[in-house]
């Protein structure tokens, strides 16, 4: 990708090669510069958010039992909420993809619900479930529902007509058609939905736990807000935020890799 804009600088291949070689100092500058900028601006305003104290917490605080247990609890909530949201999303997505009548009827409902941010359900969820774990799980289920429903609908709809006709010509039964035509064709789309909804879920659980966390025993969001509002341990807070970012990154990469492995026939 990044080779193309060379056109602006030089057209000859030799110059291009030399520029590739010389780029690493700039990459280094980018990383070091960002860290230094943070250190100079934020580290001056708030010394405990500086590089040293935060790195120390990354080493000592993050592997502590408290953090690991909260992490496990947050993940468990995501897992439960995700399964609820994904299963209902797939069922309704298949329904919308397969029956145009149903898609037509429900379309205004989805159009109305979809722009309501998952976190906007947090207060209502609190009214329904109280300041409990269930409140957070409900919000996760809602957050996972839409990406999976929409991608499933698209996936089922995008089955190539030719494939469908071919299966019919070969005498495939209804179930064989679903098994060998519809599912393989919709699967890559569903996996994309899974990746999107897990990414959203991770951000949502952190924020939701910040709100409902006062009674919950733990959870990453709860830890974050606790160390912010109660203990004022800023370096621990920043270490936790970095952990949240790293996990988001790793989960996304893992799912991308898994999608490529699981659906080698997909061009997506």
């Amino acid at each position: 990708m990044s080779q193309q804009p060379v056109a602006l600088q030089s057209a000859s291949g030799g110059a291009r090669l030399r520029q590739v070689e010389r780029l690493w100092p700039y990459r280094l500058l980018g990383v070091v510069g960002t860290v230094l900028l943070w250190q100079l601006v934020v580290g001056t305003i708030q010394p405990s958010l500086g590089l040293g104290p935060v790195l120390q917490q990354v080493v000592t605080f993050l592997p502590s039992e408290e953090v690991l247990r909260s992490l496990a609890l947050s993940m468990e909530r995501i897992a439960i909420g995700f399964v609820l949201g994904a299963v209902s999303g797939m069922i309704l997505g298949i329904a919308s993809g397969a029956w145009s009548r149903w898609a037509l009827l429900t379309e205004p409902v989805w159009a109305f619900l979809r722009p309501i941010a998952p976190l906007a359900w947090v207060p209502l969820s609190i009214v329904w479930f109280g300041l409990t774990e269930q409140a957070a799980i409900f919000v996760i289920a809602y957050a996972s529902f839409f990406p999976i429903m929409l991608s499933t609908t698209t996936g089922v709809r995008e089955v190539k007509k030719a494939h469908y006709e071919a299966a019919k010509t070969l005498g495939a039964s209804k179930w064989a058609t679903i098994r060998y035509v519809v599912v393989p064709s919709a699967f890559p789309y569903i996996l994309t939905g899974v990746r999107v909804s897990l990414g959203v879920s991770w951000a949502v659980i952190v924020a939701a736990e910040m709100v409902v966390g006062s009674v919950l025993q733990a959870g990453i969001g709860y830890l974050l807000i606790q160390y912010t509002m109660v203990y004022f341990e800023m370096s621990k807070v920043l270490a936790l935020v970095l952990l949240v970012g790293v996990i988001a990154f790793l989960v996304d990469r893992a799912l991308k890799l898994a999608a490529r492995r699981l659906t080698p026939w997909s061009t997506r």
């Binding site: 804009p5 934020v42 970012g245």
Partner: protein, 275 residues
């Protein structure tokens, strides 16, 4: 698509005219919504606990009252101001750095890693840090909106400029365009559709995040408002707030889409975006 559509096809109306079919479709949608609302109303009257299941028939009156007292307008305005400021900043920074990254390899090398490192951190996870650094209020929400919107804008701008048809660039150069003119007359117009789809994604992310930011780090705005009413178990008002968030978000997205589409009518991407 086709395999499915055949079933719900045009055969239903005797004359098979398109207009009457569309009318029929709309009517069935309206009826379906009315059925759902009726179901909700029945459940509400059976449960008879307005704190848990408020009666949908009362919601319009509640909404009207909240508009009348100005509670809805004030919080909505606060949210809109924040999202306007944060999004405008994100557009400015995002487009500029995207252009820079696409056209200058050194700028790309400098910015690439920081962007890739920062991007996975959810904007909402930054709220605690922002609470410590800037405290509760407008700045916090503006920062969250900015952070949520800026990365899709950067990435779409950069990839749009990188994928500009080579022949356009060559043509521009043959006609004597130098660097600045080439960027202004060739690169930017050709990349506009991609930049715009970045703006739209960025705006959607921003709208999703501002509610979260206001739940935790604000003392007004839509997010704060619905949590406030939830604490008093004024569920009807919570619902009015949620519906407002949904409708305003939808309306803003539609306006943005219409503007962007109007500016780049040739772009392919809008064609799939009918819903």
């Amino acid at each position: 698509m086709t395999l499915i559509n055949r079933r719900g096809g045009a055969a239903r109306t005797g004359k098979g005219r398109l207009v009457s079919r569309r009318l029929q479709d709309r009517a069935s949608q309206v009826i379906f919504i009315l059925v759902l609302l009726a179901l909700w109303a029945v459940i509400a009257s059976v449960v008879d606990d307005s704190a848990r299941v408020p009666n949908p028939l009362h919601l319009p009156a509640d909404a009207w009252a909240m508009i009348g007292t100005g509670e809805l307008g004030g919080d909505l305005l606060a949210s809109l101001r924040r999202i306007g400021t944060g999004f405008a900043l994100a557009v400015l920074v995002g487009v500029l750095s995207g252009v820079f990254m696409a056209l200058n390899r050194r700028a790309d090398a400098v910015l690439d890693m920081p962007v890739e490192i920062l991007r996975p951190i959810p904007a909402l996870a930054l709220i605690p840090v922002l609470l410590l650094v800037v405290g509760i209020g407008d700045t916090l929400a503006i920062c969250v909106v900015f952070y949520a919107a800026v990365f899709p804008i950067i990435l779409n701008t950069a990839s749009g400029l990188r994928n500009v048809e080579r022949s356009y660039v060559e043509a521009g150069r043959v006609m004597g365009a130098r660097r600045a003119a080439l960027v202004r007359e060739v690169y930017i117009p050709a990349a506009l559709p991609s930049i715009f789809s970045g703006l739209r994604t960025g705006f959607q992310f921003a709208w999703m995040s501002i509610v979260g930011a206001e739940l935790i780090g604000a003392s007004n705005g839509m997010g704060y408002m619905i949590l406030y009413y939830a604490k008093f178990v004024a569920t009807d008002k919570v619902l009015v707030g949620m519906v407002t968030i949904g409708l305003v978000g939808l309306a803003l997205d539609r306006v943005l889409l219409a503007v962007l589409k109007g500016l780049t009518p040739w772009a392919q991407q809008w064609k799939s975006d009918v819903s």
